[in-house]
């Protein structure tokens, strides 16, 4: 189980260079980490989105593993079918290899349009890892709000105007929905904490049942951040308590990052991103306060759950 960097370095690239994702995009870093962590051969389904379009412009493909994309909202249903075929062949002795199944979707393809298919796939118990690479908006179509967009953030469908300063609603808590939905292994991860992320992927892939990992993914275009800031931004999200690292195994919570001296001020995270620039203006102090309360509530919930499930 333990991650050995030397061994990882010897494994071949499963997502090759030359794809057309933006410089500084979190998605490709995440996919490389995920595929590198897998100990077994994998088959991947991908929802429509940045990752899908930028890695498979015909006649090229960056994927060095079997890969399928069918539509935006159904990568979970598509991988369900692939996994069912695998089970059928396994039962009939037509296939010998031990294969794992991964679905990649952005926050649009999981939090919103893909939620039904994801929920159904988890309820049915398909042995697959469902990954959300979560950059908190629909980046592929030009930065529109999603259910994952945090309160107050600027997007092109929740612009910071003179009457409404950014998205009025808080972000949906998809990770907790997946716990409630009955996924056997659920986690939140960040590429800044690569070892934690890769260990979670291994655990998920070795879980005999459906697993879900929500991975924080930076988007320089949508967040209005420099191209070279991906990992630093992801780390800042963890250190300021904007993105909590935790895992839930068979209902048992474990928080993986608890700063001894408390979280850094959230302003440190907000001030380096164009999408939150307006939140730091005095007239928007109220929204900023709500934003902080959202995070505090999520954190306190986690602490309570950890305590309650580990008694």
């Amino acid at each position: 189980m333990a991650i050995n960097l030397r061994e990882l370095a010897l494994k071949g690239e499963k997502l090759t260079s030359g794809h057309r994702l933006c410089a500084g995009c979190g998605a490709s870093i995440i996919v490389r980490m995920v595929l590198n962590a897998a100990e077994q051969p994998v088959v991947v389904a991908n929802a429509t989105g940045c990752l899908e379009v930028a890695t498979t412009i015909f006649p090229y493909t960056a994927w060095n593993v079997p890969w399928i994309h069918s539509a935006f909202e159904n990568s979970a249903a598509t991988i369900s079918g692939v996994e069912a075929a695998y089970r059928a062949f396994k039962k009939k002795g037509k296939i010998q290899e031990d294969i794992r199944f991964i679905s990649f979707s952005g926050d649009g393809g999981t939090y919103d349009i893909g939620l039904q298919a994801l929920s159904g796939a988890i309820e049915r118990g398909h042995r697959a890892l469902f990954i959300c690479y979560n950059n908190e908006a629909y980046m592929n179509t030009g930065i529109q709000r999603s259910g994952a967009t945090p309160r107050g953030a600027f997007t092109t469908t929740s612009p910071a105007g003179s009457v409404i300063p950014g998205k009025p609603q808080k972000r949906k808590n998809l990770t907790e929905m997946m716990v409630a939905n009955g996924a056997k292994y659920v986690a939140q991860a960040s590429p800044s904490h690569w070892r934690d992320l890769m260990e979670k992927v291994r655990k998920a892939l070795n879980t005999d049942g459906p697993s879900f990992i929500n991975i924080y993914s930076t988007c320089p275009r949508g967040w209005r951040t420099p191209d070279n800031s991906a990992i630093n931004m992801a780390r800042l999200a963890v250190e300021t308590g904007v993105w909590h690292l935790y895992e839930v195994e068979d209902g048992k919570y474990k928080i993986n990052y608890k700063p001894a001296k408390g979280f850094k001020p959230v302003e440190e995270y907000l001030k380096v991103q164009g999408r939150f620039a307006h939140l730091l203006r005095p007239e928007n102090a109220e929204i900023l306060e709500e934003f902080k309360k959202d995070l505090q509530r999520e954190w306190e919930h986690l602490l309570r759950m950890e305590e309650a499930t580990n008694k």
Binding site: P41, V43, A45, E52, V53, T56, I57, F58, P59, T61, W63, N64, V65, P66, W67, I68, H69, S70, A71, E73, N74, A77, T78, I79, S80, G81, V82, E83, A84, A85, Y86, R87, A88, F89, K91, K92, I95, E97, I99, Q116, A117, S119, G120, A121, E123, R124
Partner: protein, 395 residues
């Protein structure tokens, strides 16, 4: 060698389920919907009792049913599903993806009306909504044909030169719930007829990774679509060949159309599915009186068997085209459009009269069809058609 099969009495949906049981697909992913529910229900029983080795995926929607079928088929599995009406409409997006990815999925459709108003009974609106999705569409007249068409559908879909999904339609509640005599094939005969499925590509071939469903822009998308169009066009002779082979096995021969007294007929009615049974009775009756009437049954609507249709209709004086779906805002139904535009270039062609009938399960009787033949005669005298007529509606 013709097989004389054992006979049983069975409902249409059960016959569909029974055929699927004998095929024993690798994966069936489905979501129940009236009037096709019994197909999935019965099939679940087979799964529960170990009568099939199929992996059954009871999905949470028809959209996911087709998505899972796509995933399973892309993984190299033999795959089937079943739906109707709103369910088929919910699959719409995925139907295009299944055919564009050249996946040989077989789907039974108990054809039913579309909302609103909600109506659970039979018409062809659902299938006609899926008309342009690149699927092969076969329509079944009775319970025996549902059963027979399903076996042929697997052969056609999985043929290396076709590799396209096939929809086997039958009239909701009319055929789906009719109990009729069915001549069975033995499991071994089915196995021999459909053979083993050897997919060209599989996602589970981990040593030869493939990318399925990439992004293709203006420099390549068009070629993909044209290749797909050629594939469905080229399936026509294969559908005929499979129908003949099925006939050699069972004595029940199938072609893409069925001509009934059309060769010397002055007046021909064109129809699909169960209505053909009703029309055949009328043709028999009128023929006995010496009237030169005929019936053209369209069994395969996609690909549209234009040459066969032209050949069957070209010498008629007046043709009545019966559409069991409507196209609001147009002047006739889809079958009428298909046939008339296909025959437009002919110098000598019949006069065509469009009808829409039977929406939402409204009955079509032998009297109605007799009325149609009467009207075709009047039209001949008048020399021109009457514009779209609705059969059996209170206007």
């Amino acid at each position: 060698m013709k097989v004389k099969g054992r006979k049983i009495a069975i409902e249409g949906n059960e016959a569909a389920a029974l055929a699927l049981k004998q095929v024993n697909p690798d994966v069936v992913a489905a979501y129940p919907i009236t009037p096709s529910t019994e197909v999935v229900q019965k099939f679940s029983e087979y799964v529960a009792n170990g009568e099939v080795t199929t992996e059954f995926v009871p999905v949470e929607s028809e959209h996911s049913a087709m998505s899972a079928c796509i995933g399973a088929s892309a993984a190299g599995a033999r795959v089937a599903t079943s739906t109707a009406s709103q369910g088929l409409a919910l699959m719409w997006e995925m139907l295009y993806i299944a055919s564009s990815m050249r996946l040989p999925i077989v789907m039974t459709v108990a054809n039913r009306a579309l909302s609103a108003p909600i109506n659970i009974h039979g018409d062809h609106s659902d299938a006609m909504g899926a008309r342009d999705a690149g699927w092969i569409q076969i329509f079944s007249e009775n319970v025996q044909e549902i059963y027979d068409n399903i076996f042929q559908a697997f052969r056609i879909a999985e043929h290396p030169d076709v590799r396209l999904p096939v929809m086997v339609g039958y009239d909701g509640f009319i055929t789906s719930h009719s109990e009729e005599i069915l001549e069975l094939l033995e499991d071994e005969e089915v196995k021999r007829f459909i053979g083993e499925y050897k997919p060209k590509f599989s996602l589970l071939d981990i040593n030869n990774p493939i990318t399925m469903g990439p992004l293709a822009l203006f420099d390549s998308y068009f070629e993909f679509k044209v290749a797909q169009a050629y594939a469905i066009e080229n399936s026509l002779p294969i559908i005929k060949k499979v129908g003949k082979e099925f006939g050699d096995l069972t004595g029940r021969y199938y072609d893409v159309i069925e001509k009934y007294y059309t060769d010397d007929a002055d007046y021909i009615v064109v129809a699909m599915s169960s209505t053909c049974g009703t029309a055949r009775v009328v043709v028999d009756e009128l023929r006995e009186k010496g009237e030169k009437v005929g019936l053209l049954k369209i069994r395969v609507f996609r690909p549209f068997p234009l040459e066969d249709v032209v050949d069957a209709l070209k010498n008629a004086k007046v043709v009545g085209v019966l559409d069991r779906s409507m196209v609001p805002g147009s002047f006739a139904g889809p079958l009428y459009h298909e046939i008339t535009s296909g025959m437009y270039h002919l110098e000598k062609r019949p006069v065509f009269q469009p009808y829409v009938y039977g929406l939402g399960g409204r009955d079509i009787t032998t009297e109605h069809i007799k009325g149609v033949f009467e009207e075709l005669k009047e039209i001949e005298k008048a020399g021109k058609p009457k514009g779209l007529k609705y059969i059996g509606v209170r206007e």
